[in-house]
């Protein structure tokens, strides 16, 4: 988002929104910074003592927010990892007299490890199973501390030294500044991380696990990573905790602490950066501001959870930003600063019968013409790669009492467009999903050259070079088309995480390279001008093309499309046909499961007809159209052709 030349909002609505977002977030940051530094500036010691726990809890919740917002996993029991960090650090500094600065990283590793061990079995199952498992872990860890001899049981540890640098004990102010510094650095690192291919991979995963898997992302591993990152944050914060008051007991980790973390993230705004910090601040300041709060604290937290999830939904920070943007846009409109240059969104496209006929004609001309216009940026992409066919050999699959596929064999050659057609219930979609690894084979094999695909998981099939599109286009809303395409490039990253975190030049070059490639692909599919447009504002046809661009971003040799013409109107079908023909000409293996007969018959080189799970015909379009058996399975009789 670029800063406009003058300070006044002027121009199109998009620019105004951009300006509003920019100023809003800058202003918010300044406000937060001021609020955070207030006790330091005024030297108010009692205020400082209240702020210190806020800082620590903020670190935990930023990590939790990341896990929740990016991986979509409800790691509700972060208080457990927090406790593990606290106890580890506390024991190391008090019993073994380690320096605080050495104990800190060690405790982080231990805490994150504990969290991972206890959380991984639940993460495999996922969803609310995982959420409840982590809550249980949060309850158990303090109890283990209660009975273990090392941790001083109920009484806890009492002789924890204050951190010191070069023999000089830190003051409360300095400790607080250290906490603030840690928070800021951790948030910056996280921000850098999210602004990389990793970030896009997480966003893609959050939108649709299946779509992410089909671009080669190993979803389970990514979720474990997100959870571990959250654990690192919680462990770090936990390690600092016991050194504030000098003692540590299991009472520091009641159930209400888990609730506090969840509530802070929920109210602040899941997925928003500053959200958790604001949430924590609010939930910590409230008890001090309102007398008699502690009696009703859980009541209030609980109500906030309910209200937050049902009504405010986005959270305080995103809602505030939203209101600010709306205010700015409304004011600009009223003051005439803005020109509405965007056409109203299309909701209902009327198609003339005349257009139908024109389309049929156009498709015919494409067939005759051969090479399609949009071949440019795809030229030579597959030069030098092996030209192996995608082979399905004798594949069978049974679901319960239903034989979905029986002895299906077909071969899709590179440089050819293979269409799979058949009546309802014939097994087309099952076949597609089997090739892509979503179902296992009962019998038979699926291979791509010498690589065996059957029995592999979807992300492995993607990494073998098979890309796909979905029946309903799966795109990431709220992100530009360019970012959508880039989200498919996770596998091709050439930089380490460390380089990304510190924004090394290599990382910036890698990002630029990815962007350039994405823009090229968008040009290739005909979406060049829309590169920076937000993906959900595209028409159905455009979203389909965007999906194909993203599939191409994974550097596949084969691309499988599930009913790509579904929901597309005349000229959109034409654009799709052009693109598919171009892909075919470049040497990709293109496989189409489709009902749109005009499309299939005009651009397919090779048509496979399925009926009741068996292959009925496998030939060029002309022969298939004339084949009486094909007519029979659609029309129900042996026709006199």
């Amino acid at each position: 988002m670029s800063v406009p030349k003058s300070l006044l909002p002027k121009g199109s609505v998009d620019q105004v929104v951009g300006w509003a977002n920019w100023t809003g977030s800058r202003f918010g940051l300044v406000l937060l910074a001021f609020a955070a530094l207030y006790p330091v500036l005024t030297g108010d010691q009692s205020l400082l003592l209240q702020y210190i726990p806020i800082g620590i809890y903020a670190i935990v919740t930023v990590g939790l927010n990341f896990c929740l917002g990016s991986a979509g996993e409800f790691a509700l029991g972060q208080a457990g990892v927090f406790a593990a960090g606290a106890y580890t650090a506390g024991i190391l500094t008090s019993e073994y007299h380690w320096s605080f600065w050495v104990a800190l990283p060690f405790a982080v590793v231990v805490a994150a490890g504990v969290g991972l061990l206890a959380g991984a079995p639940g993460l495999r199952v996922g969803g609310w199973y995982f959420a409840l498992t982590t809550l249980f872990v949060a309850a158990v860890i303090p109890e283990i501390a209660e009975v273990s001899p090392h941790t001083g049981g109920q009484q806890g540890i009492g002789t924890i030294p204050f951190p010191s640098v070069a023999g000089v004990t830190l003051s409360y102010t300095q400790l607080y500044l250290f906490i603030l510094f840690s928070l800021v650095v951790l948030m910056l690192l996280l921000a850098n991380f999210m602004r990389s291919r990793w970030g896009l991979a997480f966003v893609s995963m959050r939108q649709s696990n299946r779509a992410a898997e089909s671009t080669g992302i190993a979803v389970l591993r990514m979720k474990l990573l997100a959870y571990t990152i959250a654990g690192v944050f919680a462990g770090y914060a936990g390690a600092i905790l016991p050194h504030i008051d000098g003692y540590l007991s299991p009472d520091a980790f009641p159930f209400s602490l888990s609730i506090l973390f969840i509530a802070a993230v929920t109210i602040g705004g899941i997925g928003s950066f500053a959200g958790p910090v604001v949430g924590v601040a609010l939930l910590q300041i409230l008890p001090n501001a309102v007398s008699g709060f502690t009696k009703y604290s859980l009541l209030i937290y609980g109500s906030l959870l309910i209200i937050g999830m049902i009504f405010i939904r986005d959270g305080l920070v995103p809602t505030a930003r939203h209101l600010w943007v709306r205010l700015v846009v409304a004011t600009s409109r009223r003051r005439g600063w803005v020109a509405d240059d965007h056409p109203p969104p299309r909701t209902d496209v009327e198609v003339d019968d005349a257009v139908d006929a024109a389309i049929a004609e156009e498709l015919e001309s494409f067939r005759a013409a051969g090479r399609a216009a949009a071949g440019g940026p795809l030229d030579g992409v597959l030069e030098g790669t092996r030209r192996d066919p995608l082979v399905v050999d004798g594949v069978s699959k049974r679901f319960g009492g239903v034989q979905a596929l029986e002895g299906v064999s077909l071969a899709a050659e590179p440089g050819q467009l293979t269409a799979v057609i058949g009546p309802n219930g014939s097994g087309k979609t099952t076949l597609l999903n089997m090739v892509l690894g979503f179902y296992s084979v009962d019998a038979g094999r699926i291979t791509l050259g010498d690589r065996v695909l059957s029995g592999r998981r979807p992300f492995q099939v993607s990494r073998a070079g098979v890309a796909r599109t979905f029946q309903t286009p799966v795109i990431i809303p709220g992100r530009s088309c360019c970012e959508n395409v880039m989200s498919g490039m996770f596998r091709q990253r050439r930089v380490t995480v460390a380089e990304i975190l510190v924004r090394a030049p290599r990382a910036r070059r890698d990002w630029l390279a990815a962007r350039t490639k994405a823009l090229d692909l968008l040009d290739a599919v005909g979406l060049g001008p829309e590169a920076e447009r937000e993906a959900s504002s595209l028409t159905a046809g455009q979203q389909r093309l965007l999906e194909i661009a993203r599939a191409l971003a994974t550097d596949p040799v084969a691309i499988l499309l599930d009913e790509p013409a579904a929901g597309l109107v005349g000229h959109e079908v034409t654009a799709l046909a052009t693109l598919l023909a171009a892909l075919r000409d470049q040497g990709y293996i293109v496989v189409l499961v489709e009902h749109n007969v005009n499309l299939v018959m005009s651009i397919a080189d090779h048509v496979v007809v399925l009926d009741q799970g068996r292959v009925v015909a496998d030939a060029d379009p002309a022969s298939v159209q004339a084949d009486p058996r094909v007519l029979a399975c659609y029309l129900g009789e042996v026709a006199n052709a």
Binding site: G127, A131, A139
Partner: protein, 292 residues
């Protein structure tokens, strides 16, 4: 304590977990929501029992109906506030995890305000000496818990298999849309499930407090244990909830013969992790689709 005594105690405790799990099953089958606050409804049953039985000196029989009605109503109210709004807007995310958690916490605070923080002992509902099974004692209270749990589980399972209404309920939990098309009022099935879950929870709370005493915050613990019971026994099956609860209770009771009682949660967690790694769908459950 001998192994046999621990076994008997374990079965009784397990039946308490099973009663919580039955409530979860009922709600989950109807709405695909796991109501974290179900444990607190059990607690409410116990607290009301305390008030009526001890403070007001009612007889045990007289207490049953008010407890059951009160808990069912509170359960319905809780559902209206923390779950229905999400279902109505077709919210398929896990938002209900947070709202039911919030509801649980609110209920606990309310209980604390009304009944205070102290644990309240409740006398046995049926007076008399314990049975003896091979020299191991089985108190009337524990026998009652076991009896009620079995009666509820078996009763519900039989009801769902034999009566038309029960079949309609099962149909709703298997395929909501198909049930709707067949003329089943799926919304009402959902509400009734909540009411029945409330009844089961209320009963559970009532028969358990003589053994565990009534305290405002036992709900969270019950929720987690009930969840483990479901994980072991599997979803979709009332008998699974019963089996799961009993397995958990027995394993815990036996291990606690050697281990510090504070670690009972750790034992339950250990059992949970083993189940998740080995057989996530549980012993008797159906392969339910993950809510993602």
């Amino acid at each position: 304590m001998t192994y046999l005594t621990a076994l008997i105690t374990g079965i009784a405790t397990g039946c308490l977990y099973a009663l919580v799990a039955l409530g979860y099953n009922l709600v989950y089958n109807a709405t695909s929501v796991f109501n974290f606050a179900q444990g607190d409804l059990v607690t409410l049953g116990g607290l009301i029992t305390y008030t009526l039985l001890v403070t007001r000196n009612w007889t045990a029989i007289a207490v049953v109906l008010p407890v059951v009605i009160a808990v069912a109503l509170v359960g319905l109210l809780q559902e209206r506030v923390s779950i229905a709004p999400l279902l109505r807007r077709g919210d398929t995310s896990l938002a209900w995890v947070i709202t039911t958690l919030g509801a649980s916490v609110v209920l606990q605070n309310v209980f604390q305000l009304i009944w205070g923080s102290q644990s309240k002992p409740v006398p046995a509902l049926i007076s008399g000496g314990p049975f003896y099974i091979w020299h191991a004692p089985l108190t009337y209270s524990n026998a009652l818990i076991i009896g009620v749990a079995f009666a509820c589980a078996i009763g519900l399972e039989v009801w769902s298999r034999i009566t038309l209404a029960g079949k309609a309920w099962r149909a709703t939990s298997e395929d909501r849309q198909a049930a709707l098309v067949r003329g089943v009022n799926v919304r009402r099935v959902g509400s009734i499930s909540f009411l029945v879950a409330g009844v089961v929870s209320g009963l559970g709370g009532m028969v358990t407090v003589p053994v565990t005493s009534a305290v405002f915050n036992s709900g969270s613990n019950l929720a987690l244990y009930g969840f483990v019971a479901i994980a072991i026994g599997g979803f979709g099956n009332q008998l699974g909830a019963l089996v799961g609860g009993i397995v958990l209770g027995v394993v815990e009771a036996e291990l606690l013969l050697w281990v510090n009682p504070t670690l009972s949660d750790a034992i339950a967690l250990g059992v949970l992790l083993v189940v998740l790694m080995v057989r996530p769908t549980g012993l008797l459950g159906y392969r339910r689709e993950r809510e993602v």
